[in-house]
Amino acid sequence: MAAIAHEGMEPEGQAYNPARHHEALHHQFEDIDQQNESYLVGMWTFLVTEVMFFGALFLIYTLYRSMYLKDWFLAHEALSIPMGMVNTFVLLFSSWTVAMAVRAAQLHDRKQVLMYLSITQLCAMAFMVIKAFEYTEKFNHHLIPGPGFGSHPEYLHGANPNFAQLYFGLYFTMTGVHGIHVLVGIIVIAYLMAKWIRNSPMVTKDYIPTEMVGLYWHFVDLVWIFLFPLMYLMPKP
């Protein structure tokens, strides 16, 4: 059995191991690698719950779309493919900038971390602005589920109003929940940037907090990768 490591001590018979003396190492971990793995597994556990959460929504989508294939195709024609494309481009690009920010954090390059995180923030805000334009258009076209839905039938493109309402209900639920995740991402990235600006040891001595935020942001991107073809690019039945 491995001896319990204490600060400044090595287990009997073992050579000096710098991983046991990392500045960011907490006392309950044997070395920094074990600590990092624990953080990553913890973050992925959270992401797994998120996958399950969105998975249930995708399940509902699959069920209803298979039932109302034709009406959902007609209803989806109200969405703007170019706007969806631009938003997907923006999120994929921001995933790269976050990955670069994490890389810069590993290299302790504060300037680059802040630069890449700033670009990510701009992308996140651009995404929300485009989404706001899309939502406003749906609102003006009376495509928000509830009383008054479909009062302008020309925007339903011939779809049955009940089934179209179901489509838009799911559209707003899924993109809305995703949008909330983007908003949370903006807040968390802003917090992380503040830590980097203040040169906080929490982020400068340990790249893991930046990595955790990065993982969350990649997950937001992952959800959109599936939402885009399913919501915007339906084939004609």
């Binding site: 992925w44 556990t45 797994v48 399950m52 039932m67 995933s95 009940n162």
Partner: protein, 144 residues
């Protein structure tokens, strides 16, 4: 900027630092796949299901590039990979629930017959309801 992947041994940890070029290449691949997604959606493969399967395969490949390279699973420990796999396998298993909905038309229950829109489930009930909500009833949508 270092072009090749390195390990941050200086701080004592053995975390993998991805190469900048590799990350950039990954982003370009994702952008190309985005265009392919759109292009595939404009092609008529003769069957909606084929279009859907192709769209989902491309989306899954894109997700794979994000998870594998951007999220660093390629260099993650085995334990982390198990957790990653658990989430996605779990999500796929959720879709087994569809087995219930899609077989309801074979059940001898009134109202679960195959409906005019294809599927068969409790969703094929009469809507809007012809009767007002009844006291003492659960007031779910009545079966058509």
């Amino acid at each position: 900027m270092a072009e090749h992947a390195t390990h941050s041994h200086a701080g004592g940890d053995h975390s993998h630092i991805p190469s900048g070029i590799k990350l950039f290449r990954n982003m370009i691949i994702l952008m190309v796949l985005l265009v392919v997604t759109w292009w595939a959606s404009t092609i008529d493969f003769g069957n909606v299901t084929i279009n859907n399967i192709i769209a989902l395969i491309i989306a899954t490949i894109k997700a794979g590039f994000v998870i594998w390279t951007f999220m660093g699973v390629v260099h993650a420990t085995k334990l982390t990979r198990v957790w990653v796999a658990t989430g996605f396998i779990g999500m796929v298993l959720i879709f087994g629930i569809l087995g219930d909905y899609f077989t309801r038309q074979y059940e001898p229950v009134a109202g679960w017959e195959k409906g005019p829109n294809g599927g068969a489930s409790a969703l094929q009930r009469e809507w809007p309801p012809s009767k007002p909500p009844q006291p003492g009833n659960n007031n779910f949508r009545p079966r058509g």
